[in-house]
């Protein structure tokens, strides 16, 4: 999101789900859409099937969406910036760019041009870097640039790299020079991976911003919240998840309050996470279940499930939708806001929310994008932010006549290799992700036994690698990296490139994040889950 905020001034999916059918070409890169966002995948497949859209898929795995693609290519994980620079070089060389859009809506075009026109991004060179044949790169560039409207969809395959922000800004660069922003069906579309990750960001669940992306370092924003909340506020940017655990490990972070998250399984380098959680003086976990993280807690508080409360989730296309209470919570479980209010008041404060509706009203007052998204107006179809006033219809796609920051900012981005590359000791690239049937750390999906029978732990390896090591399908093997080792049954398949292995991260018995590299993107602070060096061995 940091990448899009820099390029456009707003870090969210620019377009909407309905727009899928208005795109002439869709590029999916770094998203196993069929597994992680199945209903958006269905919409894209419909568009292809109905002859509305041509699909380009770039992914190290031959994902189901590849079956619907006009062009499918597998890249070496971590080579995305080189690929985008190459596509832009081909486009500029052939004059396929949108000159009017570049002239009127963008800045720093020369800076971009200076970088992407370098010889190292020629199709021949990028073939060497990415493994994608040069001719295919040219073909992709042509199909994409010549489309009247083209969209890019991506997910964590783009962001979870030490160059995550560079990757994101590269998608933005390509879409800007092709003039695919500010119109229906185009856009840069990061698919959000959790039901309310967009809402958690919008509401200020981030170390640098209050609700509505109002910066904590901005004097005016701070004053606004100081006045509304009647208090003094810190202007110092806070710690990100990964930083928090580092500080806990070092001993300077004494207390951690965790609401509905499970860093034990979701954070990189599990051994380090465990050491950090053990060191924290006082850990409070508020959850539906005794999660792996909760086991480390000093106090565990029972929270209610989505079906037991009222409120709103904001989906990936910025649509705020109502969630409605259908069941009574078990035992003494309480809604999260109620628990937080109890703690606040016990600490001597003066909170008096009666229900989620009261909170929603305050959100409307203090969050400009949500100004008109009131409890009363959301209705059955929801409203897409920005929706600043009571009469505003909501916004299907962003940056229509101008970017949030005025002009769209192009940036020359140099290709940098991932933090950890394969070597003799660890000769394979390990990449991680999700499967269709399971979700995140499995806290919810793994309670349904049928789901577990459909999808258990596995490591996907290529037929070539399996044969050279004498590994049979479903044989349990050992996977090791510099940070640890796990075992999992091998899934031997032609769907993954030679030299690459893939492990879904849902399973505590085969935790992929015991293996992953905690190296971070320097700005976005996202860990490099998609590339690290690994070794597999038979268990004799």
């Amino acid at each position: 999101m940091a990448g899009l905020a820099a390029s456009f001034g707003s870090g969210a999916m620019t377009n909407d789900i309905a727009g899928i059918k208005k795109a002439d070409v869709i590029m999916i890169i770094g998203s196993d859409t069929g597994a992680a966002h199945p209903v958006i995948a269905a919409r894209i497949k419909q568009a292809v099937r109905e002859g509305l859209t041509k699909l380009i898929v770039i992914d190290p795995k031959r994902i189901t969406m590849a079956d619907y693609a006009e062009i499918y290519v597998a890249q070496r994980p971590g080579s995305d910036v080189a690929i985008f620079n190459c596509l832009m070089q081909v486009i500029l060389q052939n004059g396929w760019e949108d000159k009017e859009f570049i002239e009127n809506r963008l800045e720093k075009f020369d800076e971009l041009k200076n970088e992407v026109m370098k010889e190292k991004y020629s199709p021949a060179n990028v073939e060497k870097i990415s493994g994608i044949p040069a001719a295919k790169l040219v073909e992709i560039a042509e199909m994409f640039a010549k489309a009247e409207t083209a969209a890019i969809f991506y997910a964590m395959g783009i962001t979870q790299h030490t160059t995550g922000r560079d990757n994101v800004m590269s998608t933005a660069n390509l879409q800007m020079i092709c003039g695919n922003l500010g119109k229906a069906g185009g856009g840069v579309n990061p698919l959000r991976g959790q039901s309310n990750v967009q809402g958690a960001c919008d509401m200020g669940g981030l170390p640098n911003v209050f609700a509505g992306y109002q910066s904590v370092t901005d004097e005016k924003a701070r004053q606004k919240f100081e006045q509304a909340w009647n208090c003094e506020l810190s202007g110092k940017v806070g710690l990100t998840v990964v930083d928090m655990l580092d500080k806990a490990y070092e001993g300077s972070l004494k207390a951690l309050y965790v609401m509905g998250e499970n860093p034990y399984l979701s954070d990189p380098d599990q051994h380090h996470v465990i050491a950090a959680l053990e060191k924290i003086d006082f850990l409070v976990v508020q959850d539906m279940f005794m999660t792996e993280t909760a086991e480390f807690a000093d106090v565990v508080l029972p929270a209610v499930a989505y079906a037991e409360k009222d409120g709103h989730f904001t989906n990936t296309e910025r649509r705020v939708q109502r969630i409605r209470k259908a069941l009574n919570p078990p035992g003494e479980a309480k809604e999260d806001w109620e628990i937080i209010q109890m703690i606040a008041n016990k600490m001597g404060s003066d909170w008096s929310y009666r229900d989620a509706r009261d909170i929603c009203r305050e959100v409307n007052e203090l969050t400009p994008q949500y100004g008109g998204i009131t409890w009363e107006r959301v209705g059955r179809t929801g409203l897409q932010w920005p929706c600043p006033t009571d009469t505003h219809p909501g916004t299907a796609y962003l940056h229509k006549d101008r970017f949030s920051r005025g002009l769209g900012m192009l940036r020359g981005i140099e290709f940098i290799e991932p933090d950890e590359l394969p070597d003799e000791e660890y000769p394979l690239i390990l990449t991680t992700g999700r499967v269709l049937q399971q979700f995140h750390t499995g806290t919810m999906t793994r309670k349904t036994s049928g789901i577990n029978r459909l999808a258990g732990p596995m490591v996907m390896i290529s037929v070539d690698d399996a044969e050279s090591l004498g590994i049979a399908n479903s044989e349990t093997i050992k996977i090791a990296t510099r940070r640890g080792e796990i075992t999992a049954p091998a899934f031997v398949t032609r769907k993954i490139s030679t030299g690459v292995i893939y492990i879904p991260f849902h399973y505590k018995e085969s935790p992929a994040n015991r293996l992953t590299n905690p190296a971070l993107d320097p700005v976005a602070k996202i860990p490099e889950y998609k590339v690290c060096a690994a070794r597999i061995t038979k268990i004799s």
Partner: protein, 351 residues
């Protein structure tokens, strides 16, 4: 434009079908193969009507409205024709309503009720196919299938999973998965689109069988707790048992148009799981013991205050959540910033 159905003047729009205009105006015409999301197929012929000046009985599901059109849906001629169609459908399978899961929610039953058919007039072979319960979540009873084709269209054109199809011809027609494999061994991903579209009890939610009658369940619209697409759900809830029995997709939702994935539709056992936390827990000597809210909250408030006063606000941090509501996240960051005094707030957006 205006059309007349059963003497009633109805405002219709060009391109609309007679069936749609009628249903929209509260006039029921039996229909089995038509569904708004699979479109007109004009196969079952239960929706025939009479149109003044037109010979024969056209199917209304694919009949476009014309200015001044005069339509009758309830003459004896029409109803007799509809009766034969529905009677044949009822005769050609094992449509035993008593313990059928779709009882009260069955479009064939609705049609029979409307036409006053008490029992089928013909006696055909009723038990021809073994039940296919090989899939984890979907139960297929082909003897109840009326070959309407909605599931086939749904699987191929809506979710585009391309697993379901028809095999054979005439009376031998049946739905098949891939190359006539059992559902559980086919490439089916169990999204349940076919279950949602089936007008009868032929394809149903396996784990909801025999658990509750449709009319006993409250329907509550909400949003899926899994990925960020934000599919709208209908929770079918048994209030007395305080339990979700099944989940369907909201048909007219702008995000999912009724479609769901296997997680959204079937992975809901966690809500009623016996592993849910029901009381606050405090760790003492490495072991958790139950506590009441008063004690737990007091302990947390004391500790947070102590740590803040001794080590400063930035010695505390909080993780908000990508899985709870906007309101709860808002309040969480407000708590960390206002009461604790730190911007150490984050969540797993990056993970």
């Amino acid at each position: 434009m205006k059309i007349i159905i059963n003497g009633q003047e109805i405002e219709a729009s060009p391109g609309e079908t007679v069936l749609n205009a009628a249903l929209r105006s509260g006039i029921y015409i039996p229909h089995l193969c038509y569904h708004p999301r699979t479109g007109p197929a004009a196969k079952c012929r239960a929706c025939v009507v009479e149109v003044e000046g037109t010979p024969g009985l056209p199917t209304s599901c694919n009949l476009p409205v014309r200015e001044g059109m005069v339509v009758s849906t309830d003459t004896e001629k029409v109803k007799n024709a509809q009766r034969v169609v529905v009677d044949l459908a009822l005769s050609s399978g094992r449509h035993d309503c008593l313990s059928c899961e779709q009882n009260g929610n069955c479009e064939l039953q609705d049609a029979a009720y409307y036409l006053g058919i008490e029992r089928p007039s013909f006696h055909f072979e009723q038990e021809r196919y073994p039940i296919d319960d090989s899939s984890e979540f979907v139960y297929v009873e082909r003897d109840k299938c009326i070959s309407c084709g909605r599931c086939v269209v749904g699987c191929n054109q809506n979710v585009v999973n391309e697993v379901l199809n028809f095999a054979n011809r005439g009376f031998e027609t049946k739905i098949v998965f891939d190359n006539d494999l059992k559902m559980g061994t086919s490439t089916c991903v169990q999204c349940g689109e076919c279950v949602q579209l089936c007008p009868v009890g032929a394809i149903i939610d396996k784990n909801a069988r025999g658990v509750a009658r449709n009319w006993e369940l409250d329907k509550v619209e909400t949003v899926c707790p899994y990925c960020g697409v934000g599919c709208q759900l209908v929770l079918h809830v048994d209030r007395r048992k305080n339990k979700i029995i099944r989940i369907t997709g909201v048909e007219d939702s702008p995000t999912n148009s009724g479609m769901l994935c296997v997680k959204g539709r079937y992975a809901f056992d966690f809500v009623g799981s016996s592993e849910r936390l029901t009381t606050p827990l405090i760790k003492e000597n490495g072991k958790f013991r139950e506590a009441d809210w008063e004690e737990a909250i007091a302990l947390i408030a004391d500790k947070f205050r102590l740590i803040r006063d001794e080590f400063g606000s930035d010695a505390l941090a909080g993780l908000a959540s990508a899985k709870v509501t906007n309101e709860e996240n808002y309040v969480f960051q407000k708590f960390m910033r206002r009461e604790v005094g730190t911007n150490n707030v984050d969540h797993c957006a990056r993970l």
